[in-house]
């Protein structure tokens, strides 16, 4: 293969590539989410215990998975940035944080909406919920630390160190339902043990996860384009990329 992947670690090469990829990711995300919602809301059978209210898991579980996954990816990019001294890595880390925070908030919100009819409470202080709330605070901390430091290089690195320190929380969230006796139920889907739910439910959930993942790609890529334009606005390649093409006047 003759593709030089390292070429795309330069922002000026990455910028047009991201621009080309965004529509594809958006289309795939829209399709997957549409089909996932259709199967989840209309095709999947009603749960014999929880009735219709269980259907919120088709948003809740994928959002919770994405919130943890994106945090690890953000920390990895920050780690790459520090290890390899690559400026695009920090831009990716910066672009991921808001989307990750959004999914964390979505997971907490849908969890509360599900908890009210099922548990009879919007919120309980069990280990899973508390550690997910802390994840939201960590996303906020990463973003706040970045915006509080004026020097860009230091802001990137300091928030990167904080993101890496916070990775400890991700396994705590994931295993909290096993380690503690929580009100939040244990995992219904696992890599090793297969799934404990109906096949249509699993299909819907995996489709939604895939859709959320593709959505994250699209949003993160377009946000990273903004970050690139913002940070490299004084470089000459950028001036031609960011100014709109002249419109032909007849």
């Amino acid at each position: 293969m003759g593709i030089n992947w390292l070429k795309y670690s330069a922002p000026q090469a990455f910028y047009p590539l991201a621009g080309k990829l965004i529509p594809w990711f958006s289309i795939v995300a829209a399709l997957a989410i549409a089909v996932g919602l259709y199967i989840g809301l209309l095709v999947a059978p009603t749960d014999f215990q929880q009735g219709e209210s269980y259907r919120i898991i088709f948003v809740h579980v994928p959002a919770a998975w994405m919130s943890m996954f994106l945090y690890v990816v953000m920390a990895l990019w920050a780690g790459f940035g520090m290890g390899l001294n690559a400026r695009l890595s920090f831009m990716m880390a910066q672009a991921i944080a808001p989307t990750g925070a959004m999914f964390t908030f979505l997971a907490l919100l849908t969890g509360a909406m599900w908890g009210k009819p099922t548990w009879g409470a919007w919120w309980v202080w069990d280990a899973r919920l508390t550690s997910e709330l802390i994840l939201l605070f960590q996303y906020a901390g990463v973003m706040l630390l970045r915006t509080s430091i004026d020097d860009l290089r230091r802001a990137d690195r300091a928030s990167g160190v904080f993101a890496l320190v916070g990775v400890v929380n991700v396994p705590i969230i994931y295993f909290s339902v096993k380690w503690w006796n929580t009100l939040h139920q244990g995992a219904s889907v696992s890599m090793t043990g297969g799934s404990k739910m109906a096949a249509t439910m699993l299909t819907a959930m995996l489709l939604m996860t895939f859709g959320f993942w593709m959505y994250s790609m699209a949003v993160i890529l377009s946000r990273s384009r903004c970050v690139i334009l913002e940070r490299e606005q004084l470089l000459s390649w950028n001036k031609s990329a960011s100014t709109p093409e002249p419109v032909e006047v007849r």
Partner: protein
């Protein structure tokens, strides 16, 4: 003449920080007074029923200890950062994480040990019985070094940043949550008669883990702040 080793460097940092704290005793005493005042506000605010106080006591005392530790974090590096000592520490031949351990230990002696020593008195204020008071002191003895360890990472990250006092609280408090849960849980489970061993073991595990990882993170953060 032999070159000073790592141990000498560590002791030197500890001695210097303790000496500086002894010269400004009122600075060092402030977090402790803060702890006593916060802990005394709760019975006035919540009401003096002994049963209520006994239930909220462990949590309130742990939160107060946590805030007292947080308040003193600003002093760990700021003065050294301003007068250039920190830069010298980064430059000398001894590994920076070792010096960081010295700074953390000094911070714990100044801010953590008084809290541990005062906790039996405050525990009695909240009507805790003999065994619960002992568990409270023990849990603080195991937990406060972890608080200093985690806190110094935050203190190093926000060094010289505007609004750093509030920012360090926002960064560090979420990371303090496990210590708070296990610490207050130890006292609560001792009050409930379940035995505090499980929570105390978890506190010990937190301490060992943070002792291993935190100095590296703090050293990395200091290098970033000074470059």
């Amino acid at each position: 003449m032999t070159r000073p080793g790592m141990w000498d460097a560590l002791c030197g940092v500890v001695r210097r920080d303790l000496l500086l704290a002894m010269r400004r005793r009122s600075d060092a005493a402030m977090p402790v007074f803060f702890l006593v005042i916060v802990a005394s506000l709760f019975p006035l605010g919540v009401g003096p029923e002994p049963a209520v106080l006994r239930t909220i006591g462990p949590g309130v005392l742990w939160v107060a200890a946590l805030l007292a530790c947080l308040l003193s974090l600003g002093r760990v590096f700021t003065a050294d950062y301003l007068d250039g000592v920190l830069e010298q520490m980064v430059l000398i031949a001894q590994p920076l994480p070792v010096l960081v351990v010295g700074k953390v230990f000094a911070h714990w002696v100044i801010a953590g040990v008084p809290v541990v020593l005062l906790s039996p008195l405050l525990g009695m204020q909240f009507g805790l019985d003999g065994e619960a008071v002992a568990v409270l002191a023990l849990s603080l003895l195991l937990g406060t070094p972890t608080l200093s360890m985690i806190g110094t990472i935050g203190a190093a990250l926000v060094l010289g940043v505007r609004g750093s006092g509030l920012l360090v609280a926002l960064l560090v408090l979420p990371l303090y949550v496990p210590v708070l849960i296990f610490g207050a849980g130890a006292v609560a489970s001792s009050l409930a008669g379940v035995g505090a061993e499980a929570n105390l073991s978890l506190l010990g595990a937190c301490l060992v883990l943070s002792l291993f990882f935190a100095p590296w993170a703090t050293a990395a953060a200091l290098r970033i702040a000074l470059e």
